[in-house]
Every structure is written in structure tokens, then in C-alpha cells.
């Protein structure tokens, strides 16, 4: 069996997040694989539907919850359309985990600020649950999440759950015009809401993921709040085929996103050629 042959996984649960975004809960068909499979928050994998092909997604569930992985995807191309056709019980492929990860144990004792936009919440959600499952190891937890419209917010039930927790400060927002009459969150772009939330940078790190434009305008806000470049983490998702440093697609300069990433600090990103 070569490195390109995936494990088989069975769809255990299908959850619609938005009109075109869906989460699959996947269980390994081989109990021995399920037993030994392990990963760290921030890692990704190659998911495939036999006959349609392979696609790269983060593992959206946290490593603290064993026995399954979750994958959230938007139906865009051939593979994601085929993934959308799958029902509970159907079998697909998974290779991984690949790439580096968020340095979670080294963040014990710190506050964590999560900033996400749109489907960019998927990789951040993995870290959020990882942190919440080990809640006593961290200080303040702040989450700022935004989407274009209310309908575009993903993980709605979890947002509700986080919002109710006394140990989580949650700020949700939608772009101006994206609100509904009963919307109780903020209206405004993510960077502005981060400024409003003004989480303390003292003993804190930030985890940021979302569209490039959101990241671009969020970084200066975080810096103003006192987060230095080495304490801001993000995860990049360039197009990949192999996921293991060979196929030649994901490099930014001499950095291979699949193996040197996908998790980078803002300081590391600043040193890369401007080719994101």
C-alpha cells in the first residue's frame, strides 16, 4: 500500500451548515485504524469520493474527541458535489493527518482569541473545541466570528452553545445588509468587531482564519491591541493534490504549505514572498 492509498471512512452523520455548506462526521471502517488514528489541532487531510477524486480540507473536529473526524465543505467543484451526494452509511476515502499544527500545549495558561470569517471557522472550530475540552488549562477564551449574512454562518448550534457558556466571550457579526430582523449579533466587518471586542493581549495569542481580505484588515487591529506577530497564528489552505510535499502546488517561495504549514505565525508569513 503506497502513501497515496487512503483509509476508508463511513459517513456517520450529515449536517447542513448553510444552503451550500455541509459537515460530514466520518468514522474509520477499520476498527484498528480508528483505534490508532491520532492528530493535532490544525492538521488536514485528503478526502475523496471514489470515482470523483480527492480534495484537501482541514480536520474540523478536535483531537480531544476520538473515534471520528469531521469535515466541513462548500459544494463548489466535482469532488465536493460528489461529497454532497453522500448519505449516512456511504463510504469515502481519507488520507492524513498531514501538516503541522497549532502549538497547543505551549499555549497552556494563556488566553486565546479566535477570529474567523465564513467557512474559515472550520479549522478554528477544531482549536476552539480542543481548548474548550481542556478549558481549565486556558485563561480567557474570546471568539469573534463573522459571515456575509446570517444565512452564511456555519456551526450555528455550536455558536449558540458557546454564546451560553460563561467561560467564553462570543461575538458574532454579519456584514452590513446581511442581518435579518431577528438577528441579535453585531452588524459590521470582522476587523471592526475585533476592535470593539478589544480582547486583552496580555498573556494571549490570537488564532485567525478567514478570507484573505479579512485577515489583511484584522492583523493591524490585533497589532494595535498589542498582539505581536509571533503570537498571531493563522492557517493557510493552498490548492494541494498530494498533501505530502511532492506534487508542487502549494508552495509560497520555499515554504510548502502542506508540510511546513498549514499553520503559520504572522511573523512567519511576513517573511514569505507576497504570493498568497
Amino acid at each position: 500500500m503506497n502513501v497515496y492509498q487512503p483509509f476508508t471512512v463511513r459517513v456517520a452523520e450529515v449536517t447542513d451548515e448553510t444552503a451550500d455548506t455541509r459537515t460530514l462526521k466520518l468514522e474509520f471502517t477499520d476498527p484498528a485504524v480508528a483505534e490508532r488514528f491520532d492528530f493535532r489541532a490544525g492538521q488536514f487531510g485528503e478526502y475523496s469520493v471514489f470515482g470523483a477524486g480527492e480534495c484537501t480540507f482541514c480536520i474540523a473536529s478536535p483531537p480531544t474527541r476520538k473515534g471520528y473526524i469531521e469535515c466541513s465543505f462548500k459544494s463548489v467543484g466535482k469532488v465536493t458535489k460528489a461529497m454532497r451526494e453522500l448519505n449516512v452509511g456511504d463510504v469515502m476515502g481519507f488520507r492524513g493527518p498531514y501538516g503541522n499544527h497549532f502549538p497547543l500545549p505551549s499555549l497552556y495558561g494563556k488566553s486565546v482569541v479566535f477570529v474567523a470569517g465564513g467557512i474559515g471557522l472550520a479549522p478554528v472550530r477544531c482549536v476552539i473545541w480542543n481548548v474548550l475540552d481542556l478549558r481549565d488549562k486556558f485563561k480567557d477564551v474570546t471568539i469573534v466570528y463573522g459571515a456575509r449574512t446570517v444565512a452564511d454562518l456555519v456551526y450555528k448550534r455550536e455558536l449558540e452553545e458557546w454564546g451560553k457558556r460563561p467561560d467564553v466571550k462570543l461575538w458574532t457579526t454579519v456584514d452590513p445588509g446581511g442581518e435579518t430582523p431577528d438577528w441579535k449579533g453585531k452588524v459590521g466587518f470582522v476587523p471592526a468587531i475585533v476592535e470593539q471586542a478589544a480582547p486583552s493581549a496580555r498573556d494571549a495569542v490570537a488564532v485567525v482564519c478567514g478570507p484573505p481580505i479579512m485577515i489583511k484588515f484584522t492583523l493591524p487591529v490585533l497589532k494595535k491591541l498589542g498582539f505581536t506577530d509571533d503570537r498571531i497564528y493563522t492557517t493557510l489552505e493552498n490548492r494541494m493534490k498530494c498533501g505530502i510535499g511532492k506534487c508542487g502546488r502549494c508552495n509560497i517561495g520555499h515554504v510548502y504549505v502542506c508540510k511546513d504549514g498549514p499553520v503559520f505565525t504572522a511573523a512567519e508569513m511576513a517573511a514569505l514572498p507576497p504570493e498568497f
Binding site: 500500500m1 503506497n2 502513501v3 497515496y4 492509498q5 487512503p6 476508508t8 475523496s48 471514489f50 470515482g51 470523483a52 477524486g53 480527492e54 462548500k74 463548489v76 467543484g77 465536493t80 452509511g89 456511504d90 463510504v91 476515502g93 478570507p211 484573505p212 489552505e237 493552498n238 490548492r239 493534490k241 498530494c242 505530502i244 510535499g245 511532492k246 506534487c247 508542487g248 502546488r249 502549494c250 508552495n251 509560497i252 517561495g253 520555499h254 510548502y256 508540510k259 514572498p273 507576497p274 504570493e275 498568497f276
Partner: protein, 351 residues
Amino acid sequence: MMNATTISSSDLSGLAADLLAARVRVAGPARASDGTVEYRHAGAPAELVLDSGVPRRSLKEFFLPPTEPLFAWRTGAGGRVELLEAPLPADPAVVIGARPCDAAGIEALDKVMGWDYRDEPWFARREATTIVSLACAGFDRSCMCTSVGLAPDTTKGSDLLLVPIGGGAFRAEVVTAKGARLVAAYPARFRPASGEAEAEAFRKAAREKVAASAPPAADPLRPWLDAHFDHPLWREASLRCHGCGACAAVCPTCHCFDIVDEPETVGTGVRRRNWDTCQTPRFTIHASGHNPKNDQPARIRQRVLHKIVIYPKKFGEMLCTGCGRCSRACPGGMDLPEVLARIAALAGGAQ
């Protein structure tokens, strides 16, 4: 390891015959019916042509085929899916008459194929294949092996290097244990080493010939390239580019690939790896439509930098062996020696 032996042309043919008789696959430059010379599997020693210039395509397809199965799938009753492993390609083979630049390219690729995750199909072929190279006399003005730290007689990637010593004979330098095993397995085909002076003269003349027209060394250009990521140079170069990827197809070191599913019957199919190239517009496009390398200048830059900046930084060696094929194959007249000379001029002016 560097011991040597001698082999005559007729014994080289005889060696090929012995290998074929032992059911070892023999490959080397061979002329097709259209007159072009390509690396091919030979059915008989006479098919090999060793005095014919540079084969149009490189040796890499013997190790990384243009298309290869990674595994097959079969769906059964109740949605069961069975995956069938692709057998590892382990047929013993000997390449006779490889260009040293091609052999060097194969060794350079071992790094990317082996870092952390081992590409088993690649290494299965590597282990099963012995490469007998033929020192090159220098071919044409597209040759630039001396600009990338190699030479027409480089032993990099070869198990045995043949150097012409006149009279139709070759001095055979044993480069690796695998090369030594080949010599040991067919002792009747080899004679005691001779022609050291003749071999040295051949090698010296070839190096001088290539160096005379090759561009300046690529190594020292790295700091300038790092400091000038955005430069009009790439736009100028891209004006000649059709984005066809011929350069990558003929390149001994371009190794980018795609992974695709090919259904065969209802419920069965094969996942394959196919050659791909960074020169096509959609190579790096995201699902969102965002494309980090969204124009041809960015794609030309990627190809050149991958070879002389990125790979050396990552793996400590060039991803270009100076074979000159990209320049020969380009329908738009893109010329890598010219691009390097231009960069060298810019870098020189900047100092």
C-alpha cells in the same frame, strides 16, 4: 568506490544482450520510425543508439511515468468499498547510455520523493534500475550543465559512467555499489581499466565546450532573486510563454503531478497520478476562484525559482541539470540560458 574498468562498443552491445537474456529490461536512447531519438525499452541491443545527441524527452518517465495507477477501487453490495493496492514496480532494469544530465536529475528528485513521506513507486523503480551513463561531448547552445554546478561528465545519479577513450571503447567508472554489482555480474564484458588519459582529455574538452556558451553560474544569483521577487524580468519572459507546459514535460526534474480518479466500469476504477505543470493557469487556483499564481509572469517565476532558489533552499541542490530541453522544446522561444544571463546581468548591475 571510484574504481574503473574498460568496455568496448561490441561488449556494451553484448552486455545489453546478456541482460535481455537474463530477462532484465534494457532501456536507452533508441531511434523511432520518425527519426527522433527517445529513451525507450529496447527489444534488441541494436536498437540502442549511443551517438545521437540528446533524446527529446528526459529519463524521468522511467521513474515517474506520465500516468500511473496508485490503487484501484471496487464497490460491492451494501456500499462496501474494497481498495486494491497497485503492485510496486520492481522489474529489474538497466539504462544504457543515459545522458549525465538526465541521471543527475533523477538523483536530484530523490530528495523531494523521500522527504518524510516516501514515494514508494518512485523508490521501487530507483532500486530496481541501474543507470549506465555516457559522458557527453556537449551538444548545443541550449546546454548549460556547467551553470548549475554539474558537467557533461558528472557522475551524479549514475551507477556507472562510460567515457569514450577512442577506438570505440569506453572507460567505465564505477560510481555506486549497484554499478559495481553490474560489472561483477557480467565479468566477461569488462576488461582491465585503461585509457585514463584519453578519458580525462575527453572530459576536459567537453567541459570547456559547454562552459564556452553556457550562461554564468546560477548559484550566486540567489540573493538577487530573493531581493527582487517582483521584477519586470518575469513579465518580459512571460511574453514568450504559451502556457503549454512543454518545458515541464521534457524536463528531467519537473515532477509536479495531479491525482485523478478514472472510473472504469460502474463501481470500479483507478486513482492515478498524472504529470502536471505549474505553467497552466488553473494549476494553483483555489475553490473560491482566488489564484495565488494568477498570471503567466508569476508562473514563469515559479518554474525558474523552483529550480534555482526554492529547491536548493529546501533540499540543498539545484532542480535544474542544464540539459537545455526546455529551451529546445519551447514553441515561443523561451530560452533558459538567456533568462539566466539576463538575471546575471541584472544582479551584476545591482552590485
